[in-house]
């Protein structure tokens, strides 16, 4: 458990980023667009690259079947941060230049956006946004929320996630992507 905590607090280290195939200096590999909002992902970048599909599918089942909402791997939250102005959509923000970039490279086809819009919420008020903990620094973060995981530094929150078995998606996830 302690070890897991240590591993998780280690931020998606700069070294890893330089060597990554998605680094802007790399001549090969997909180049997913930079996030539109926020400066940290819901997990370190290297973890997200590997495991985003498991997080998504696990939380999807929890939300739809048990009604558990407001946890951090919400598809709508991904879209809020990762949707960028998209030429193909007439300059509207979509998530295609982000998700699509890697998936094309890896020949992955996802059907999610046949039902889910790939555009962010047209915000009228903060009320329209999903409730629950948003990653720290999230521009739409609701300051009044009483959820304790919403306050504090990213490190603290990551540690919290590492120590809270309920948030240990890796270990509780029974969804396998192939």
């Amino acid at each position: 458990m302690v070890l897991a905590g240590v591993l998780l607090i280690t931020p998606g280290s700069a070294g890893a980023k330089e060597m990554s195939p998605t680094s802007p200096t790399s001549p090969w590999g997909p180049k997913p667009t930079k996030a539109f909002k926020g400066d940290k992902c819901v997990e370190p970048v290297d973890v997200m690259r590997r495991d985003h599909m498991n997080y998504l599918l696990h939380q999807r089942d929890e939300t739809v079947q048990q009604g558990i909402r407001g946890k951090k791997y919400s598809l709508r939250q991904c879209i809020e941060c990762h949707a960028v102005p998209d030429k193909q959509a007439g300059g509207e923000r979509t998530v295609e230049p982000f998700c699509g970039e890697c998936h094309k490279f890896a020949a992955v086809t996802i059907d999610c956006f046949q039902c889910h819009t790939n555009k962010p919420e047209k915000v009228k008020s903060t009320e329209a946004l999903p409730s629950g903990p948003l990653p720290p620094g999230h521009p739409t973060m609701n300051k009044k929320t009483s959820n304790s995981t919403n306050t504090g530094s990213w490190k603290k929150k990551t540690l919290f996630a590492a120590l809270d078995p309920a948030l240990q998606q890796g270990s509780t996830c029974n969804v396998q992507v192939r």
């Binding site: 739809v64 909402r69 039902c115 919420e121």
Partner: protein
């Protein structure tokens, strides 16, 4: 069809198939009155009358049974505010073809052939406690949430449509065509079955379903949403004062949608 109801004094043509035979209706009403919902007096109080938002990370509770009480006598003929609100909220349009029309919510017209009396009422998934759509689903996609809301998990729905055949209320429909411009909170797409979700995404945030909200805001107050298990909720109190009917109560499905004034 709802648009038509505004102009047509008689049953709108599209509604003919939805209309409930008045003879049978009387029978149903009678049966309903006998089996009027009985709230166990001993049930302990879990929530106040207000609808509360469930905190983040908490699953829906089996102590709650969400329901809607519809007072038919207060439902104005030709009014389709609830239907319009549902379309806006969940991003669907009518297909224009009766056979494949979307069935999230519709206005049904009842006509007593003997007296000529006409009454309209909103009709949607009845959120049964014993839902036949769940029994027949081969993948488990059709399910009842702990708090009584009957849903389709579109991620596991294979589009076989057994549930549509099993539903005695014809409350489900199939998406035949590609969908674009969905609402962020209401994903829907081709090849899956859908129906009223009792606005589960709103209820989880502590809001009431869009149809009930529209009806209440307009001052009609035909619909009351709330927890049937909570004796102090507005819905349980109202249900305790009037005789309520459950449509096709004879089937023993124990719907969560109650009608009064039928």
């Amino acid at each position: 069809m709802s648009k038509c109801a505004k102009h047509c004094p008689e049953i709108a043509p599209n509604d003919a198939q939805n209309a409930i035979d008045p003879g049978r209706r009387r029978l149903l009403a009678g049966a309903g009155a006998l089996t009027t919902l009985m709230l166990a007096p001993g049930v302990s109080l879990m929530m106040s009358g207000a609808v509360e938002a469930r905190p983040a990370g908490v699953a829906a509770s089996a102590k709650i049974r969400w329901g809607i009480l519809i007072d038919v006598s207060k439902c104005p003929d030709g009014c389709d505010l609830c239907v319009t609100a549902c379309k806006d909220e969940n991003g669907w349009q009518e297909t224009g073809r009766a056979e494949t029309n979307v069935q999230w919510i519709r206005k049904v017209t009842l006509k007593d052939k003997n007296t000529g009396a006409i009454k309209t009422l909103p009709f949607m998934c009845q959120h049964c406690a014993e839902p036949p759509c769940v029994d027949v689903c081969p993948t488990g996609a059709s399910f009842k949430r702990a708090d009584g809301i009957v849903l389709v998990d579109k991620h596991t729905c294979i589009g076989c449509r057994y549930c549509m055949m099993a539903c005695p209320y014809a409350a489900r429909s199939f998406v035949h065509e590609q969908v674009t411009n969905q609402k962020p909170h209401a994903p829907r797409g081709k090849g899956t079955v859908e129906s009223c979700t009792m606005c589960v995404h709103r209820v989880d945030k502590g809001q009431i379903p869009a149809c009930v909200e529209a009806c209440t805001k307009a001052g009609n107050r035909t619909m009351i949403f709330g927890d049937l298990n909570d004796p102090n909720s507005e819905i349980a109190k109202a249900a305790g004062q009037h005789l309520t009917t459950r449509i096709r109560a004879d089937l023993g499905l124990d719907p969560g949608i109650l009608y009064s004034g039928l």
